[in-house]
């Protein structure tokens, strides 16, 4: 079964390898991702700081488009890989189903654009779909290159589990750990895995620029702690977390006087490697400091370690 897919603005920029690897993994598992035509920005975390009703309307338009794309009475899953988009769409879904003044106003705005939200669209995160729809057994069966010896810090960040936890425990989530185990890797125990990386501020590219001091420190703390726990890689479920943790390691090293070096991957890339998918198809050539060996997941120093 194919899923309706909401790319989000990051997929057109820094999050491109996330989209590439997700599409490759879903296809390999027999479920395509059909991108929503005409999708628009969800409002992210920035728009609600200016106008809540408009932020809801922006997200609601995507929910309405997802329903239009699959007419009928069945629920429609809308897969949103960015944790920021995921939360914005989910929040809108809930606000509109609660009814009240905001729901009426947003309904009116949709009508002005010749759209209607029925309430069939359900926001899903691809991690949820992989673990709970496709299932860990099927994924484990498809593994051709178990990631033995790879020690993974599973990073959930903030918005996948807060304020709503739809498919996992809010304080002690386990989906990612179970997924990386299913592909042969070993999750490290990491209590900080739902702590904010500081990058959730706004979908604006080098986010660190908004509050560099705070963001660099929050991210550095996570990277350092994951490394101390013996992780070879941090896997992320959000393009903003991924970029924020990956792109500024040089600055962090410079500032703290201690080298900060850790591969930060999208969770879909790690799964894709275990499924034996081509590194290019997973967008690994686009990563800024990828240090995992290309043939197996077992080594931390590969041919491209110094690239």
């Amino acid at each position: 079964m194919n899923y309706t897919y909401y790319p989000g603005c990051s997929a057109r920029g820094t999050g491109r390898p996330y989209e590439e690897s997700l599409q490759a993994v879903f296809e390999a598992l027999g479920s395509g991702l059909d991108a929503l035509d005409d999708w628009n920005c969800c409002g992210a975390t920035a728009y609600p700081a200016v106008d809540m009703a408009k932020a809801f309307a922006l997200s609601a338009r995507n929910l309405a488009l997802a329903e239009d794309a699959r007419p009928g009475t069945e629920p429609v899953d809308l897969v949103a890989p960015c944790a920021g988009c995921y939360r914005a769409l989910l929040r809108t879904e809930r606000a509109l189903s609660d009814g009240g003044g905001v729901a009426d106003r947003v309904g009116g705005a949709l009508r002005a654009a010749a759209l209607h939200y029925e309430g069939r669209a359900r926001t899903r995160h691809p991690l949820d779909v992989l673990v709970n729809d496709i299932g860990l057994d099927r994924i484990a069966d498809a593994v051709v290159r178990p990631l033995e010896g790879l020690r993974v810090a599973c990073y959930y960040g903030c918005l996948l589990v807060r304020p709503y936890a739809t498919f996992d425990d809010q304080r002690e989530p386990t989906s990612l750990e179970r997924l990386v185990q299913a592909v042969g890797a070993e999750p490290v125990d990491w209590p900080l895995r739902t702590r904010c990386c500081g990058g959730s501020c706004y979908c604006g590219g080098p986010l660190v620029g908004v509050m560099p001091e705070a963001t660099l420190e929050l991210s550095r703390l996570l990277l350092e702690d994951a490394a101390q726990r013996g992780a070879n890689v941090i896997v992320t479920v959000c393009p903003l977390c991924q970029f924020n943790l990956e792109a500024f390691q040089g600055q962090m090293s410079h500032k703290s006087g201690k080298p900060v070096r850790l591969t930060v991957s999208y969770f879909s890339q790690v799964v894709g490697l275990a499924l034996g998918l081509d590194e290019r198809a997973l967008g690994i050539h686009r990563m800024l400091n990828w240090r995992l060996a290309s043939t197996t997941g077992t080594k931390t120093t590969g041919a491209n370690a110094r690239a």
Binding site: A109, G198, H285
Partner: protein, 187 residues
């Protein structure tokens, strides 16, 4: 007296019940303890509530503290009294914007306004363009610091200066204008 703006947020959230969000707070400070940004705020989340309760709403509306919140919802989830603090801080940001009292030189409101302008116009944001114009407005020196990163991203195909847009931005504008008109009629 409790801030009207916070009460209206409560009404929206509870479908008209009108729960008073701050009343239940007993100042335990859990919010500030779990907030990853508390050290960087001029007032931490617990102090924000205390200040609001003291009837000094304006101090909070003018503060940088509310704009330092990254909306990670750690406080909301941890609060033993279920005070929806993150969404309330959002309400305070909106009120600060509405009254035009937000800190003009603080980067996050600048970024938020710019983000909104871009999305209103094109329906999507373009990371590279937003960053570029943000740095030009706030701290052009930062731009130099990021030249190397920018080039690497261009090379890796993870950044483009091409403007992202929905096929028909007019439809987005129509939708947003309908909300403005509805708000105008209600006022």
């Amino acid at each position: 007296m409790l801030p009207a703006l916070v009460e209206s947020e409560a009404r929206d959230r509870t479908g008209g019940v009108g729960v008073d969000l701050w009343r239940d707070c007993f100042q335990c400070g859990t919010c500030s303890a779990v907030c990853p940004l508390a050290d960087y705020m001029d007032r931490n989340p617990r102090q924000m509530i205390a200040t609001l309760r003291a009837g000094r709403e304006e101090e909070i509306l003018r503060s940088c503290g509310i704009w330092t919140c990254t909306s990670c919802y750690a406080c909301t989830v941890a609060c033993p009294k279920q005070v929806p603090l993150t969404d309330s801080i959002y309400a305070l940001k909106r009120e600060a914007m509405r009254q035009g009292v937000y800190p003009r030189r603080f980067p996050t409101p600048v970024m938020a306004r710019q983000f909104v302008r871009t999305v209103d116009k094109w329906g999507r944001s373009t990371e590279s363009r937003i960053s570029l114009s943000f740095y030009l407005r706030t701290d052009p020196k930062q731009l130099l610091r990021h030249v190397r990163l920018g080039l690497r991203l261009l090379q890796a195909g993870r950044m483009s200066l091409r403007r992202e847009s929905v096929p028909e931005p007019a439809q987005i504008r129509k939708m947003l204008e309908a909300l403005e008109m509805a708000a105008g009629e209600a006022a």
